[in-house]
Each structure stands twice: as structure tokens, then as C-alpha cells.
């Protein structure tokens, strides 16, 4: 290995040492905006996705119904208490403005756009009943959420340009396409919602689906969709969370995008996930602390993997994982089993 590569490796080790610390979001706010369907089949499909996402947020991720707002094509949806009316530009501005007023610092605000997009005069747009909204229209609304953690997901066609316009520190921006040139109807939203509503996206088996996991799941399923159909892919989703205005199709938390999205969970996930949460039982607290320490060691070991003999790596990994498994078993016992 060359000297340069060795140095690069050390940098990665240093980065990886900051093992995944979940964002301590107090509350999650979910805003779903469904745009114009144009045809009944799309209207229905978009609404169905919104409903699935709401159900997942409420039932799987524990987001309070009071913190969910759904704006869609119709004026009312009596069966859906979280439905807030037609998704006009004004309605979107109103809902996000209210959250900016009421959300606490550190809360998560998760905005999900489902619908059609396009571009006019070089500007990407999300099609709404009435005037469309551009990325520039969303910019002040997100700016007002400066104290909150923001996840903004535009699953529409031609959504790629939203990344550059909305990218900022403390924000995760996901778009279904890499540019405004990808104008075909996207498959991304159904897989993105599926990541939260069904099992399978929790890649690290921590019982929660991070935004990065959901993105990765959806991206790969979209790829499979096109491959299986022997079709040329007409959408390439990207994620940006380092504020550089450039989305990554394969985020790498160690070197670029993904570090924040990996730690953001709609609903916050289990409160003790980071091991740092307090417990009344000092033995539980100690076990959590030990677990956290072992996980950090595992992270550091993984970062050294390429520089190690595989047998040595496996032996060391096994040792740490066995320790972790034993702490977990003890914790489960103390916490009454999970």
C-alpha cells in the first residue's frame, strides 16, 4: 500500500470514531404534500402512498397525530383527521409556518412531497393545485426552521435541482432524480414509503429506519425495478446532508453525505438507542455505557479492516461482537426482555 493511501486510511479511522450518535430529536413533525395527480390513477396512487406513510409514522414510529399534516388534492378527507386541506401554495406556507412557530428546538421536521414535478425557465417545480412551488418558494419556509432538524424529501420527477437550492447545514435533502432533466414519472416514492411502512429497510437491525436507510432501500429497489424490466433508468435519486449543495447517489457517511441522515429517525426511534440515555437502574446504565463503548470499538475496527489480515480482523471482530452480544443479553434481561 502506498503512503498516500495509508494516510487516507488514517483519516477514515478518525472520522469513523465518531460512531453513529442519533440526533436527539425531541419530537417529530411530518408534513406530507401530495401534488396534482393529473390522472385518476396517479391521484389515487399518490394518496395511497400518503396514507401508508401516515400509518407508518403513527403506528410504527410513534409520531403523534397532532404532529402530522397532510395536504392533498381534495378539499377534505373526513376519514383522515390529519388531512389539512388542498395543497395550495398558501396552505403549504401556512402549515410550515405554523410548525416554525410551534416546534421546539431540536425537533425533527420531515417534509415529504409526492406528486409530479417539472421545470420551467430553468427552475424545478412541484406541481400543486393552483400555482406550482419552486425550490425558491420552499427556501424561506425551511429557513424559518433554523432551530429544527429538517428532512426535505421531494419524490417527484425533475426534482434534482431542489438539492442545490435547499442544501444547508443541518438539513437532509432527498430528491428522486439527480436533475431537472429526469422528467419521467418516478418509482422512488413508493419504495421510499415502503422503507418506513414495511420491514426490510432496517439494514443495521436496530429496530429503526434512518433517513439514510430509507433512501438506500428506495434507491436500490428503484435500480432493481429498472434492471428487472430491462429498462434504462430514468431516475437517479440523490441525498445531500453536508450542506455542499451536491447530492450523492451512494452516500458515504465517512467521507461525504450520509453522516446526518444516518442519525435521523422519524419518530426518534427507541429513546435509549444511543446508549447514553439515563436509566434509573445503575446496572442498566452501566450496561448501556459498556455497550456504547464496545460499539465504538467495533466502528474503529471496521475502519481498519482493509489494512488487516482477514483472519485477524474476524478474530477481533468476533471478540467485540461476543462482548456486545453478552451485554445486550444482560440488558434485555434487566429491561424485561425485548
Amino acid at each position: 500500500m502506498s503512503g498516500i493511501l495509508r494516510r487516507a486510511l488514517l483519516c477514515i479511522v478518525a472520522l469513523s470514531a465518531s460512531w453513529a450518535r442519533p440526533v436527539a430529536a425531541d419530537e417529530s413533525h411530518l408534513v406530507i404534500v401530495v401534488g396534482l395527480g393529473g390522472e385518476p390513477k396517479y391521484t389515487e396512487a399518490f394518496h395511497e402512498l400518503a396514507v401508508r406513510m401516515i400509518q407508518a409514522a403513527e403506528k410504527k414510529m410513534g409520531v403523534a397525530a397532532a404532529n402530522i399534516a397532510y395536504l392533498g388534492e381534495k378539499a377534505t378527507y373526513p376519514a383522515l383527521p390529519v388531512y389539512k386541506g388542498r395543497a395550495s401554495r398558501e396552505a403549504v406556507q401556512k402549515v410550515l409556518g405554523e410548525i416554525a412557530q410551534t416546534a421546539g428546538p431540536g425537533d425533527l421536521v420531515f417534509v415529504l412531497l409526492i406528486g409530479h414535478g417539472g421545470s420551467q425557465a430553468g427552475e424545478s417545480r412541484f406541481n400543486l393545485p393552483g400555482p406550482d412551488m419552486t425550490a425558491a418558494d420552499f427556501a424561506p419556509l425551511l429557513a424559518a426552521l433554523g432551530r429544527q432538524e429538517v428532512v426535505f424529501v421531494n419524490t417527484a420527477s425533475a426534482s434534482g435541482d431542489f438539492v442545490k437550492a435547499l442544501s444547508a447545514k443541518g438539513r437532509t435533502i432527498v430528491t428522486a432524480t439527480k436533475s431537472a432533466m429526469e422528467r419521467n414519472q418516478t418509482e422512488f416514492p413508493s419504495y421510499f414509503v415502503q422503507a418506513f411502512s414495511e420491514d426490510g429497510a432496517d439494514a443495521d437491525k436496530d429496530q429503526r429506519v434512518s433517513v439514510l436507510e430509507a433512501f438506500t432501500y428506495a434507491r436500490r429497489e428503484v435500480e432493481r425495478f429498472y434492471e428487472k424490466g430491462h429498462l434504462l433508468a430514468t431516475e437517479h435519486a440523490v441525498l445531500d446532508d453536508n450542506g455542499d449543495g451536491t447530492g450523492s447517489s451512494v452516500p458515504d457517511p465517512a467521507t461525504g453525505d450520509g453522516a446526518m441522515a444516518r442519525r435521523v429517525f422519524l419518530g426518534g426511534g427507541e429513546s435509549t438507542a444511543d446508549g447514553a440515555a439515563a436509566s434509573a437502574d445503575p446496572r442498566v446504565a452501566e450496561l448501556r455505557r459498556q455497550r456504547r463503548a464496545i460499539e465504538e470499538k467495533i466502528g474503529a475496527l471496521k475502519a481498519r479492516k482493509d489494512a488487516m489480515e482477514s483472519a485477524q480482523y474476524e478474530d477481533e471482530l468476533e471478540k467485540l461482537l461476543v462482548e456486545l452480544a453478552r451485554r445486550e443479553a444482560a440488558l434485555r434481561q434487566k429491561e424485561g426482555g425485548r
Partner: protein, 887 residues
């Protein structure tokens, strides 16, 4: 155009400045008009009248001489040229044409003299004489002098303010020849041809030259366009017809032989066409005919290197070492450094699947001339075919450096550049190259099937190919195509060069289009039959054997009888054995290829059934000894080909008597497929009107089925099935009936239909899956597992199939089966990879492979450290290994 062409001088070259005098305008137009309609006789009559009227009109006489030569009346042309010279002893105007005629007859010394005189006398076509003279010098090995001559044309171009179309074509030819030293000049050749055509759009020779240049560089699209434009100007031009024949031949498109015949009809002595015909005969493995054609050319032109090459190749392929050596020496006597002789021999050998010989010949070409880029290219391609990848790459790189315009070489180098993305795995007898994205999934199946084929075939044939056999699996069909023929667009699924074979990966095509397992088996069978015969087995026999071995390998594998086959049998259109190679090499249409594969397999099957498999092996041995099919059949089977054909076709008619009676002529047939679904009423009426018409019954059944009238469709499907039980096409009645019976709750009937379907169709994915489902429902778990295993050879990419296979294997207590299915699931790279890895670890642990189980569970936990079930498994494995020592 390069800088050297941009330096246009003001002065006209003295050679070009002397005009030949105008042809009488009206008559010239008449002649041109006659030529445009391809009427050479009329053109000659007009020109003869004009020449007679004006014995001093050089241009008219020259056009007459050239036209006579173009239709092969060389003696008349020579006589006419000489008569003009006699009448005009001081005119140099006919000397170039005379020289060309003499050169075409192998009278090189006289030709050279004529060319020199034309140049010295300042003939208006002196530039053509210069290029002809240089070509003569090059042909006899006087390379330096030849190149100096070609350079003089570039000087002429640069110094002339304008050149005629003919002169520009001569410049193009010179640039083409000089391209061997400086490939940029190939571009100049192109430009000069374009300028020549612009100067005179009726210059068909220039258009043919352009087509030939494109053909040499494997740019078939532009070659086809140039040939077509030439034929638009003169539909009977022998050179244009030959160019088009070559394009069609290179594309594998039908019509090449017809074009060649048309060319030879216009000029029966047209040397390049005769040589091409000799090459065709060689491709058809009809070596005596190739000898005949070659000798025919040599009788006219004893100095024809192309004809000497085809003759030497024919002798070599016949195993006539003495005859080959005499011919080779004859060619080398003309030019001791004739690398092109070996290049041609190499190319012809490769076309006859003699890749080792091709590489050897190309090596000899390179030894004679280290600057033969063509030779280096042929060498490289054949090294790759023999599995010598690195030496092959080096040869190709050297070729490309000298000639970067050869599309085949460029494409192949581009393909080689992608090889780092592939992963190589080894089994006992195979070296398998799989694309990284699918290697983990395909490698176990490929290795297992390849070794199974090896075991079966080596036992059956009593032969073991020298290993390892290299198997290349391409997920992109275009890459497979480039590997095989240098260009995208090959219709095949697999190719075998002997020790190397290449196939489409299952991901290269849509599910149901082919069975990659049977394709692999087919190609491995080629490795055996090619190896046993030193690649001297005829194409039809090796293909027939490979399909036959597919049929024997697994139920349903290999080509099936089709409506088109039965129709061809009925119409007497199946090729006799002596011509069966044509069905593969130069088919009349794409259907004939498929028909020929099946026919060849039936021939082999019949020989084995009548005479036992030892007769098949004896035939292979006879081919290996250099026997022709006629000789081999006589020696081994004691029959002439005619008698064999008679008996074979008679039993075919007996065997397929049912379908033969149920298939109507093509023009009376009902279109099957989606089109048949539109008008059930009409189709029902047709089916009722002719209850013995298979296609009408099937079309009516299909239409009713798709119209939702499933019950009404049953009688039609049942009748179709009884008329042609072996039919296994996509619209097979079996699948429809199975669906209907299943809906009706008639499970055993549905099962029977699916079993019959999968017994004759190797790529009916849905059929296999449905069969597996029904078998499982019936409690036949082993049968269900077998069906899923066969489904994987159609498409291995569906996770649910492997999940089901794992579940069945678990229920069957087949621990190895569980592990294999679990490995496939991991290889499919699921989003929930930790779960897949955990399941694999569990399967491995249960199969007793604790070390592998540990590795996989570590992988799972590496991704998901808090994965509880994986943690529990790790603790179990760890404690059983260490007794909990690390606690």
C-alpha cells in the same frame, strides 16, 4: 484531411495535364445512361460505334476497353487496347487500361512496362498508372519502391489545383496503401474517395473503393451505404454487387450469395468475386469446390495471391500437406515477404474454427512483416479465442497502434478494458469469468453445472479436453457479441472456440427468452466435439451434437420442434446433409438457422438410435482424421449422403406425420401471438372450418382465453394439442390448459399439463414456477425442488424462488440445498442483508460447517451489531468453539 493534403499546390502535375480528348457527348451520355441501368451490352455497343467512328478518340476507346474488362471480356479488351495503340503508336492514353488487363491476367512484366510507358508518356490517367504500378511492386515485395510511388500521388494531389474524379480515386488508393505506415492516411483515403465521388457521382469504382475501405475496417454500416449508392448508379456493376455481397455476408444477412451470383453473371471471370466464392466454399467446408474455384482464378491469373491463399487453405483443410506446401511456395515465389498470404490463411482458418492454426498463420505473417497490423489483429483475436488473454491483448494493442480504425480490434480492446470488473473463479476443469455484480450469485450454479456437463460428456465421449476450459459469461449481450464477432448485433446466445467459450448471462436477456443452463451445456459439448476433432468437425455436426446433448441433459432442454420446422419439412425445404452447413453459415433467413439446429440434432439422434453412440464417436474420429462428411459417412455408416438423406427424411415424415398433416402452408396460416387475440369470432369460425388445422385451433383457443372465455377455449386447445403434441412454443396449449384446469380445481390435470409443457420447453419460467407450486401442494416436495432448480437456469434473479427452494430443502432435510439457496439469497444483495447472512449462517451451522457459519454471522453483525438472533447464533457458535473461554 491531414496537413499533408492541405498543402495544395498551384501547378498541375504534368502527368495529369495531358487530356485524353472528350468522348462524343451524346454517345457518351447514351453509354452512361446504359451503364446506369446496368445494360452493359448496350453501353458496349454505343462505345464500339463511337470508337469505330473516331479511331483517335482515346477517351472513348479507353471507356470501351474498361467496360469490356468490367464484364470479363478481357481478350476483347486487350485486343481493343492494342488496336488503338497500333493505330496511335505515339498516344499513351490506353496504356494504363492495357496494363490493368495484363496485370489481371498475371502478366506482370508486360503490365509494368505498360504502366511505365503511360507515366512516361504523360497519359491523362498516369496517376492511375502510378498507383497500379506501385500496387504491382507491393505485390512482389518491393515495398520501398511501391511506397515511394504511392507518395508521388500525394505530391500530385498537393501540387494540383484540381484533379479529376478518377485521379482522386487513384490518390485514395495510394493513401489507403500508405495507411500501413501512417494510419492517419486512412482518413485521407476516405477524404479522397469522398472528393472523387463529389467530382463525379457516377464514378462507381470510387464508391466501390470506399465500400471496400469501410469493409476492411469492419465498418459495415458505412460500407453498406457506399455499396448501395454504387448499385444505385449501376445495378449491374460487378464490383458493387460483390461489395454488397461482402457486406451482407459480414452481417450474416441473407442475400449474399445471390449478390455474388449476380456479380459473376455480369463478369464470370471477375477475380475478386471468384475468390470470394472460393472463400464461401471453404466456409461451407466444401474443400474440393474451393480448390476448383481457386484454380479457375489461377488459370486466368497465375499470380493471384488471394486465389493462391484460398487454394493453400483448401489444401491445408483437406490435410493435404504437400499440396499446401506447393501452393504456399508458389505464393512466396511471387513475393517472399507476402505476409498477406498468411493473413488470409489465418483468417480463413479462423472462419473454419481452426483457431490454433489461425494464430500460427498470423504469427508467420507477423514474422514476415512486423508492420502487418492486420496480422497482429488476427493474431490477437485468435490468442484470445485460445484463452491467451494477456498475449492477445498485447497483439491487439500493437495492431491498434498501427491501425486505430479497425472497429473489431477497437471494440475488442474496449471489452478487454472491462475485464477488471469481472471475477474469475476456478473449479476442477473450468476457469469461469463472471461480472462482479453477479459473480457471487452465478458462480456456484455455473461451476456445478459445468462440472456436471464435464463429467457426463467425458464419460460419454471417452475424451477429456485439456483444461482448464475458460467460460466467459456476459451480462451485456453487446459484449458477448463483441467477444464473438467483434461487433454488436450477433443474434446468438453462446459461442465456443474450443478451450474458450462465451455465453450470455441470464441478465443479458428478458426472462423466458433463453435457458442459460442449457446454453452453457451446449457450448461445453462443443468443447468436447471440437477438441476431439482438432476443430475439424463440420458445423452442422457439432451443432447437432450440442443440441442433442442438451436434450439428454435435462427435461425440456434444447431446441424443440417448431411450426416452421414442420412447414419446412412439408415443403421439402429442409437442407440435404451435404448442404446443411449452409443453414448455419449462410441461411436464407433467420428461421433457417433455428430449423437447421433442430434438424442437425435429429440427424445425430437418429444416427445414435440406429447405430449406437459409438458410431457418433467414430464419425468424430473420422472428421478429426480430415475426412469429409461424404467420406466419414461412407466409412463409418457405410452409406452415401443421398441414401442417408432418403432414409432420414422418410423417418422424419413418419415421426412427424401428425404435425405434418396439421400444418397448413404459410400463406394460409393464422397468425399466432397477440394478433390472434383480437377477433375470437373470426378465429373460431376458421378453426371450425378446418378442425385439422393446428394453428387455427390454437389461435381460436388463445383468442377466447384472452377474451375471458376460458371454458370455451378448452376444446380448441385440446384439439391443437392432439394435432401437434410436441409443440412447445410460447403459446403452448399446455400452459393455457393448466391455468384453466387450475381455476376449475382440477389440480391433477393442471399438473399433467405443466409437466408435459416443461418436458418440452426449456425456458417457460412461469410454467416451471407454477409446476413447483402445484407439486408442493400435492406433497411432492422433491419434485417441486427439481422444478425450482430448473427455473433457476431460466432466471436466477428472483429472491422468492430461492426462499421457496430453501424452505423446500429444509423440509426435505437437504442441508446442502438450504445452504445453496441461502447463498443465492445473500448474493442477490438484498436490502436486508444481515437477515440473509444470518439465515445463511444458520443453514451452515445446521449443515455442520461451523467455521463458515461463524464467518457469515460475523458479516451479518458487522452490518447490524445489535441484531439479536444473529448475536444469539454467534454466542452459540462461539461457546461451542471455545467453551465460553472468552467470557
Amino acid at each position: 484531411m491531414s496537413a499533408r493534403f492541405a498543402r495544395l499546390g498551384l501547378a498541375l502535375l504534368a502527368l495529369a495535364a495531358v487530356g485524353g480528348g472528350p468522348v462524343h457527348t451524346v454517345q457518351a451520355q447514351d453509354a452512361a445512361s446504359a451503364l446506369r441501368s446496368g445494360d452493359y451490352d448496350a453501353a458496349i455497343l454505343v462505345l464500339q460505334r463511337q470508337a469505330k467512328k473516331d479511331p483517335r478518340a482515346a477517351a472513348a476507346h479507353r471507356l470501351l476497353v474498361r467496360t469490356l474488362a468490367e464484364v470479363g471480356r478481357y481478350a476483347d479488351a486487350e485486343e481493343e487496347a492494342k488496336a488503338f495503340q497500333a493505330a496511335n503508336p505515339r498516344s499513351p492514353e490506353l496504356l494504363t487500361s492495357l496494363g490493368e488487363i495484363l496485370a489481371g491476367r498475371g502478366r506482370n512484366a508486360e503490365a509494368e512496362s505498360a504502366f511505365k510507358k503511360a507515366i512516361a508518356g504523360g497519359a491523362s490517367d498516369a496517376l492511375t498508372a502510378e498507383v497500379d504500378l506501385s500496387a504491382l511492386r507491393l505485390a512482389r515485395g518491393d515495398r520501398d519502391e511501391a511506397m515511394r510511388g504511392f507518395h508521388r500521388l500525394i505530391d500530385a494531389y498537393n501540387q494540383a489545383s484540381s484533379l479529376s474524379s478518377e485521379q482522386l480515386a487513384a490518390v485514395a488508393q495510394a493513401c489507403w496503401a500508405l495507411g500501413a505506415d501512417d494510419p492517419q492516411l486512412f482518413k485521407d483515403a476516405l477524404k479522397a474517395f469522398d472528393e472523387s465521388i463529389a467530382a463525379d457521382p457516377d464514378n462507381v469504382d470510387a464508391r466501390v473503393g470506399l465500400a471496400s475501405l469501410f469493409l476492411e475496417k469492419y465498418n459495415r454500416t458505412d460500407a453498406a451505404a457506399a455499396a448501395k449508392e454504387a448499385l444505385d448508379r449501376n445495378p449491374s456493376h460487378p464490383g458493387a454487387l460483390l461489395a454488397m455481397a461482402r457486406v451482407l455476408d459480414a452481417d450474416g444477412a441473407p442475400g449474399a450469395l445471390e449478390m455474388l451470383e449476380r456479380s459473376l453473371k455480369v463478369n464470370p471471370a471477375f477475380e475478386p468475386a471468384r475468390v470470394f466464392l472460393a472463400e464461401v466454399r471453404l466456409d461451407q467446408e466444401d474443400y474440393p469446390a474451393a480448390v476448383l474455384e481457386s484454380e479457375r482464378v489461377l488459370a486466368d491469373n497465375p499470380a493471384s495471391l488471394p486465389a493462391l491463399s484460398t487454394l493453400a487453405a483448401a489444401r491445408h483443410f483437406q490435410g493435404d500437406a504437400a499440396g499446401y506446401d506447393v501452393t504456399r511456395k508458389r505464393a512466396l515465389a511471387l513475393n517472399p515477404r507476402a505476409a498477406e498470404l498468411y493473413n488470409r490463411l489465418a483468417e480463413l482458418s479462423a472462419r473454419n474454427r481452426l483457431y490454433r492454426e489461425a494464430a500460427d498463420f498470423a504469427q508467420q505473417a507477423v514474422a514476415l512483416d512486423s508492420r502487418t497490423w492486420r496480422g497482429l489483429g488476427i493474431l490477437g483475436l485468435n490468442q484470445l479465442r485460445l484463452g491467451a488473454i494477456e498475449p492477445g491483448r498485447q497483439s491487439l494493442e500493437a495492431s491498434f497502434k498501427g491501425d486505430p480504425y479497425n472497429v473489431w480490434i477497437k471494440n475488442t480492446l474496449d471489452l478487454l478494458d472491462t475485464f477488471p470488473r469481472y471475477k474469475e473463479t476456478r473449479s476442477e476443469h473450468f476457469q469461469i469469468l463472471l461480472h462482479g455484480k453477479e459473480a457471487a450469485l452465478l458462480a456456484p450454479y455455473t461451476e456445478e453445472l459445468a462440472e456436471d456437463a464435464y463429467a457426463h460428456l467425458s464419460a460419454r465421449y471417452g475424451y477429456r479436453p485439456a483444461g482448464p476450459v475458460r467460460v466467459e459469461v456476459y451480462p451485456d449481450h453487446a459484449d458477448f457479441s463483441v467477444r464473438t464477432v467483434g461487433l454488436a448485433g450477433l443474434a446468438g446466445l453462446g459461442a465456443c472456440f474450443g478451450p474458450v467459450l462465451a455465453i450470455d448471462s441470464p441478465s443479458a436477456r428478458e426472462v423466458g427468452q433463453f435457458n442459460w443452463g442449457s446454453t452453457l451445456w451446449h457450448e461445453i459439448a462443443h468443447t468436447f466435439t471440437l477438441g476431439m476433432t482438432g476443430n475439424r468437425v463440420p458445423r452442422w455436426f457439432t451443432e447437432g451434437l450440442s443440441v442433442h446433448e442438451e436434450h439428454r441433459a435435462r427435461p425440456g432442454w434444447g431446441d424443440d420442434v417448431t411450426v416452421e420446422f414442420v412447414r419446412a419439412l412439408k415443403a421439402g425445404e429442409l437442407l440435404p446433409l451435404a448442404d446443411l452447413n449452409q443453414g448455419f453459415i449462410r441461411p436464407k433467413g433467420p428461421e433457417q438457422v433455428a430449423i437447421s439446429y433442430f434438424q442437425a440434432s435429429l440427424v445425430v439422434e437418429w444416427i445414435e438410435s440406429q447405430r449406437g453412440f459409438p458410431a457418433v464417436v467414430a464419425l468424430l474420429k473420422a472428421y478429426g482424421d480430415g475426412r469429409s462428411t461424404e467420406q466419414a459417412f461412407q466409412t463409418v455408416l457405410g452409406t452415401t449422403l443421398e441414401d442417408f438423406d432418403k432414409a432420414f427424411f422418410a423417418q422424419l415424415e413418419q415421426r412427424f406425420a401428425g404435425p405434418l398433416a396439421a400444418i397448413r402452408p404459410a400463406e394460409k396460416t393464422v397468425v399466432l401471438g397477440p394478433a390472434a387475440r383480437r377477433a375470437p369470432t373470426d378465429l373460431e369460425a376458421r378453426a371450425k372450418a378446418d378442425a385439422g388445422d393446428f394453428e387455427a385451433q390454437l389461435a381460436a383457443g388463445t383468442a377466447l382465453f384472452h377474451a375471458g372465455k376460458r371454458a370455451e377455449s378448452v376444446p380448441y386447445f385440446e384439439r391443437a394439442q392432439s394435432l401437434f403434441p410436441e409443440f412447445a412454443g410460447r403459446e403452448s396449449p399446455h400452459f393455457y390448459l393448466a391455468a384453466i384446469y387450475k381455476d376449475q380445481g382440477k389440480t391433477s390435470e393442471a399438473l399433467r399439463e405443466l409437466q408435459q409443457l416443461t418436458a418440452i420447453s426449456d425456458s417457460h419460467y412461469r410454467g416451471q414456477l407454477e409446476l413447483a407450486r402445484l407439486l408442493e401442494d400435492q406433497g411432492d416436495l422433491a419434485g417441486a425442488a427439481r422444478s425450482l432448480d430448473l427455473a433457476v437456469y431460466i432466471s436466477p434473479f428472483e429472491a422468492a424462488v430461492h426462499e421457496k427452494r430453501a424452505a423446500l430443502a429444509t423440509r426435505l432435510g437437504d442441508r446442502a440445498g438450504v445452504v445453496r439457496a441461502r447463498r443465492a439469497l445473500v448474493a442477490l444483495d438484498p436490502v436486508d442483508k444481515p437477515e440473509a447472512l444470518y439465515q445463511l449462517a444458520l443453514a451452515l451451522a445446521e449443515a455442520g460447517d461451523a467455521a463458515a457459519a461463524r464467518r457469515e454471522v460475523l458479516h451479518a453483525l458487522e452490518i447490524a451489531p445489535r441484531f439479536q438472533r444473529a448475536q444469539e447464533l454467534l454466542l452459540r457458535l462461539h461457546e461451542s468453539r471455545t467453551g465460553g473461554a472468552t467470557r
